[in-house]
């Protein structure tokens, strides 16, 4: 019961994140949505580590690493976004269209 509640929460968060990441035009929101997805992953890991069929500390460790990596990715993502903003003066994904056949 506990586990499935966490899993459901994570799944919902993940789906919201995925939906946002795939549909939103504002890059900042897209990046935040990606973070949302990653956080859903962390909930999963921690929930499994505590209430899973085979509880083990590996889940916590994995969550820590996921957090760290997500931060690194966010940092690079923001850096890319800033660089993009400085050259194009926009943060809308659909205006990132200078690269086309």
């Amino acid at each position: 019961m506990t586990l499935s509640a966490y899993l459901a929460l994570a799944l919902i968060l993940f789906c919201i994140g995925l939906y946002g990441a795939l549909t939103k035009r504002n890059t900042v929101i897209v990046l935040i949505c990606i973070e949302l997805m990653l956080n859903a992953v962390n909930i999963n890991f921690v929930a499994f580590a505590k209430y899973g069929a085979h509880p083990s500390v590996h889940g916590h460790v994995f969550a820590l690493f996921a957090i760290a990596v997500a931060a690194a990715e966010a940092a690079v993502g923001l850096a890319a976004l800033i660089a993009f903003y400085r050259s194009r003066k926009t943060v809308q994904v659909d205006e990132a269209n200078s690269l086309k056949h």
Partner: protein, 122 residues
Amino acid sequence: MSNIYANSYLIIFVFLCLGVLLPIGALTAGRWLRPHVPSDAKATTYESGNNPFHDSRVQFQVRYYLFALLFVIFDIETVFLYPWAVVYDQLGLFALVEMIIFIVLLAIGLIYAWKKKVLRWM
């Protein structure tokens, strides 16, 4: 044991509620007490007495972002350092060596930022 855990977070929740209630209460009380005589002049943005011009949400200096990014990286590293520090006694020499390597890598990152003049505010 588990009660301590649950109760502790209950306390934190209570504190959160109190923290939210106080400003709400105070501001509501203030609404009853304070005068309310709005005018256009009062609602203008304060710019040292000049008439406000332009939008103030201008582009910031990039250095703010740079510091923000640096912060994100270094702050997250504590995710590894804190657990390590807590169980340091039980880990032995290997953990020390490993963490020194980690810190050296962090330091290299810092030196990199330093050399690239990221740390310069002006």
